[in-house]
């Protein structure tokens, strides 16, 4: 480990606010596009299924 304690790990040598916000924003954004893709996929499949069952 490059840090001696958990507190130092969070502090990131006084750059904590920058490092953690960069990682946080990235994580949330990538999770969002992934979730959006999954939801869209399910919605399309559900709609097609309904359409086929109706015909």
């Amino acid at each position: 480990m490059a840090f001696d304690s958990l507190a130092e790990f969070w502090a990131m040598g006084n750059y904590g606010a920058y490092v953690w916000s960069a990682y946080g924003i990235s994580f949330v954004t990538i999770a969002f596009i992934t979730l959006l893709s999954v939801v869209k996929g399910r919605k399309v499949r559900a709609e097609l299924r309904q359409r086929y069952l109706r015909d």
Binding site: Y15, V19, A22, T29, I33, G41, V44, R45, R49
Partner: protein, 248 residues
Amino acid sequence: MSWLWIHKLGSPKFFYGFSKRFATPIFFSGLLFSLLALGWGLGFAPSDYQQGDSYRIMYIHVPAAMLAQSCYLAMGIAGLVFLVWQMKMAAIFIQAVAPIGAVMALLALVTGSIWGKPTWGTWWVWDARLTSVLLLWILYMGVIALQNSLEEKVLANKATAVLSLVGLINLPIIKYSVEWWNTLHQPASLSLIEKPTMPMEMWLPLVISILGMYLFVAGLTLWRMQTHVLLNEHKASWVKKEVLNNGI
């Protein structure tokens, strides 16, 4: 030779079967590698002697910036393929990859800005590198907007393919912007031909992070393409069978 099966990926049905088998393992192996590498880069790689711990933003910034450019390169080539051969899968690829590329370009800008503040003393400068990446993001948004705003699908596919292709001109500008013009941005962190300029303990997690994010994006793109194939080919009997048998 048996590698001619690659050709068949142009057929929506064959592509769907192929993608269904490989998308999930590719996606999750990418996720695993990325998380491993990010944990490594955040907690175990040594501090930088000049930038301290702020340089750890690199492990997300560099893969995002590389992916933003790679996705656009692939999208531009797909645009050419669609215009020349009217290949349906090329249009589907553009639709599937554009939002992912847009996210990567946005993340490159945002994480770069956050990294720039402690390193350069400013969130933003209007220099060649930053401005050309901003243009890359705008191009992605243009492709997405064009695809969604044109009701006539054939026309929408053509217009998006043209914009994707024309936007390729921006890529060499991004790449060489740090050499052609004065800029605050540092030169490339990685090179295929030269020895790494950073120590191995910093370099290895970066390479694994890049590899992981490429796999992640490849898996996600394949998965998104499956959805678009089903929508596009909904009149085909195999799609009906697929949806009714393996719904959700």
